[in-house]
Point group: C2
Chain length 335, copies 2
């Protein structure tokens, strides 16, 4: 059992295990080089040897405790039949959403599971491998709006004005995402993470039907199929609802973002619940003493609780790779 | 004393007073028509008769309890010497930030205070008039990044890598904003609101130095100069930190956004603290029974507490004006 899984099973002592959201990505020159040989971002996701290679790149450079499979949360809308493309410098763009036409094709993602298998073979038994998906609400944000947005007006309008379609979309997503997570676990992922990246944009009235309810259904189904595989939920921007999120979804552990108050989390969240995070990615860009202090802040705050060190959001492209090395050494130095 | 001021002074019974963030704006055809005669958005802000006319437009159509002066939070960076322009369809764009060159010129905003005076004369004694500003952190987001952004990476990097400049910027903003709010109150604003629109993007370590501390300084200075003028803080996206925000800034009342849990706010926030909000602006777009239920939800939740009815964010441009009329009638109908 890797360090990450040990912490997820309740281990509190020793240095926290460490991995980084978006650790396989644009801040690495070898990633940028490899991506130039690929026609598109999605082609890289769907070519098992390429996805595996990108997954392994940060593991070769850094002594991280876990790899996360190189993929994207939008492979699911794509596998459901919606057009998805990644325009360089502009982020993802999705085609028009027609809920009645959506139909999930599990075969469409066979190459992702093959990449998981290859990565599992390559990283060695003492390292964990993380599979992941976007949560239903977060995917609905992209699927309705067609792209990332600031206010998510489109999805909130859709949910209020076309409630049956929203409900149908949630059901389709729960089915597809459960299947997708189970397939990643069966292919060798030892930990799963559900990214609720736009959780902070969910209106209060939508929390139960679009966040808590559907996420719980996914957690229940995955647990039934793969009882031993822990699930980390990352409800970004949902600090106020963090305790409810953990209680109502049943995730094993919760990822914090960098806006959340670690002391308040300690007071309000059950003592045994493992937490993950939550260094500001900009502290990783700046590095040095600023970074060291951020790392120590979270180590100190979560002493006495199972804690996975990570950022409070993904690594940004202008992060110097040597700061990641320093980050890991700060995590492991004596407090 | 208008209904709004009575509620801010502790009145709990009767229908809540009602106004809407961005009630003077693009969803009104008469606003769009008037704006066509102006060279730019800022010219409209800086022409007293035009700003007054726009302020009054929603008051003529709807029986709102308060007018809010037509202006923008970015008049302050502009009056400090930074280039500010509004590009149609793209939102605000600011020129490069050079903190040592910033110098606030209070005379630059004389036309805003003249508009406040004119609006005060026009709306009648039973209506309140709201003056406002952006909070220092929110303005820093715009001033550093040059425009609205999703992740606010730029300002977080600036704050960590150039701490002295960030501190200097905060001090300059506290001075300018205090002066600006006091001038609006002296010109006739009976209520002031501080918009912390990007509060949800502030990293945990920045809450004290960039949100709580500077906002408290502004509140203290305004209270000293205008002891009778209540201040509403609107810490958008800061549900987790709402109670700390009220305690640490000393605002008289707090505006909620539409993601916040009203029951949790009631449990955690001092019983006498007036709250404002927080209907989803998309419910105002959809209208009908959906809107009515949203209004009733907040009326019910905040029965027994001073409550100002409002949206949980600004009116969006595609809002049908007749839904605003319905909104007000739902607010005033028996529960």
């Amino acid at each position: 059992m890797g360090n990450l899984c040990q912490t997820l099973a309740g281990k509190k002592d020793g240095a926290p295990p460490v991995w980084l959201m978006r650790q396989a990505g644009r801040y690495l020159p070898e990633y940028r080089e490899l991506r130039q040989t690929q026609a598109s971002f999605l082609e890289a996701c769907y070519t098992p040897k390429v996805a595996t290679e990108i997954t392994l790149q940060p593991m070769r450079r850094f002594d991280l405790d876990a790899a996360i499979i190189f993929s994207d949360i939008l492979v699911i809308p794509h596998a459901m039949g919606q057009d998805v493309s990644f325009v360089r410098g502009e982020g993802p763009q999705l085609g028009p959403l027609q809920v009645p036409r959506l139909k999930y094709d599990p075969q469409a993602l066979a190459s992702v599971y093959e990449a998981v298998e290859l990565a599992r073979l390559a990283i060695g038994a003492e390292k964990d491998l993380i599979g992941f998906c976007g949560a239903p609400w977060t995917l609905a944000c992209y699927m309705v709006e067609g792209r990332g947005s600031k206010a998510h007006d489109g999805v909130r309008h859709f949910a209020l004005s076309r409630p049956q379609e929203m409900e149908a979309l949630m059901e389709l997503l729960v089915d597809a995402l459960s299947t997708h997570l189970v397939a990643q676990a069966k292919a060798g992922a030892s930990v799963l993470q559900i990214f609720e990246s736009w959780g902070g944009a969910c209106p209060y009235g939508g929390l139960e039907p679009f966040v808590f309810g559907p996420t719980k259904q996914i957690v229940d189904r995955v647990r039934l199929a793969c009882p031993g595989v822990p699930i980390i939920g990352f409800p970004r921007g949902m600090g106020e609802h963090l305790v409810d999120y953990v209680k109502k979804t049943g995730v094993n552990a919760v990822g914090l973002d960098y806006t959340m108050n670690p002391e308040a989390v300690n007071q309000r969240l059950g003592k045994g619940v493992p937490v993950q995070g939550a260094v500001d990615p900009q502290a990783l860009v700046v590095g040095g003493e600023i970074l060291r202090q951020e790392v120590q802040r979270y180590k100190k705050a979560f002493k006495g609780r199972p804690h996975i060190m990570n950022l409070g959001h993904g690594v940004v492209p202008n992060t110097p790779p040597k700061h990641v090395e320093a980050f890991i050494s700060y995590v492991r130095e004596a407090s």
